[in-house]
Symmetry: C2
Subunit: 173 residues, 2 copies
DNA sequence: GGGAAACATTTTAGGCTTAAAGCAATTTGG
DNA sequence: CCAAATTGCTTTAAGCCTAAAATGTTTCCC
């Protein structure tokens, strides 16, 4: 409990500081740009290798990766949440992968709104083949990081994710 | 030049090690997924806020951010390299931003292949207004990180970027 | 039971993005 | 000097992606 009027003023100050005395957020901004650069760089590299080696796009690969972890299949909503993309996006992606024979899609017996998708035999075989190489590419891209670096990055990124989720929640609230 | 057959075999071994004795790259894979999750999360949040508050897309904002740092303008190639996107992408983006009055575009006097683009007065004013809020959003998204966390992340991401660039170079070579 | 709300998915309209091919201007090497 | 390579940009074709509206289905609750 604040003891004096001056204490109260100090508290107010600290809470509204960002508005009244615009702080220096340059460090966070630089961090965000660096994070984005790293991701874009690696993503572009992986995209190119997938295209050259297997003539497959990254979104297709990502979708198959989700399904590979779910032998009993997933609903489109599940996929959409996991991949953090819109529903409509998944609809189109699935459409093309069913067309090419990599996915199997059926309406749920118990809920006719729901579509359940699975990898076909072909889809699973092709994914496994691609995933094996993909894993090596990733290891190579991160090759200069020590195991300690990796652990530390994991920890800090987990903290970053939590912070961002909290902030996103604050906005939606 | 390898001197013996055994040297050759050793070279082969070291080059194909990952295939012959499959190493555990699960940690790197997890790290990559976490990196991607963080970026996607923050990027989506920023995209949504830009749309809601200013009815502007993220790529447009990014392009304007590049130009704001270059009062004398940039060529399309420069922009394309900085933003790490394809040339054709920039062409379309610039087209729309010229159309909306945010960018000024002129052919270089000295090299008629080159297009130089600049922010217009309107473009600069709007960008500055957006950037001020954007900076606060970013600070808020990273709010739970201590200054030490930020420094450490900067360091590790710099190392990651260097590692990835080296790996990308190896492939192109 | 029946209407309202919630849910899963698709559709729509518009924009973003890429790789590859094409065009024009410039630079380079013989 | 001039042909060949390079450079800067645009075009093309295809696919990715989003937000918002639309459709059909199920659940909730009175």
């Amino acid at each position: 409990m604040p003891a004096t009027v001056s204490d109260c003023i100090n508290m107010l100050d600290s809470e509204t500081k960002a508005v009244e005395t615009p702080e220096d957020h340059a460090e966070e901004l630089r961090l965000w740009l660096r994070l984005l650069t790293c991701t874009t760089l690696i993503e572009g590299e992986v995209r190119g290798r997938l295209r050259q080696r297997f003539d497959v796009t990254l979104p297709r690969f990502d979708l198959m990766a989700q399904l590979d972890k779910a032998p009993d299949g997933m609903t489109l909503s599940d996929v959409s949440k996991r991949m953090m993309v819109s529903n409509g996006n998944v609809t189109g992606l699935v459409e093309r992968l069913v067309e090419s024979g990599h996915l199997d899609r059926r309406t749920s017996e118990t809920d006719r709104r729901v579509q359940v998708i699975r990898l076909t035999k072909l889809g699973r075989a092709e994914f496994r083949r691609m995933a094996a190489e993909h894993e090596i590419w990733i290891a190579d891209l991160f090759a200069d990081l020590t195991p300690k670096d990796v652990r530390e990055l994991m920890r800090l990124l987990a903290k970053t994710k939590a912070s961002a989720q909290k902030s996103a929640g604050r906005r939606r609230a």
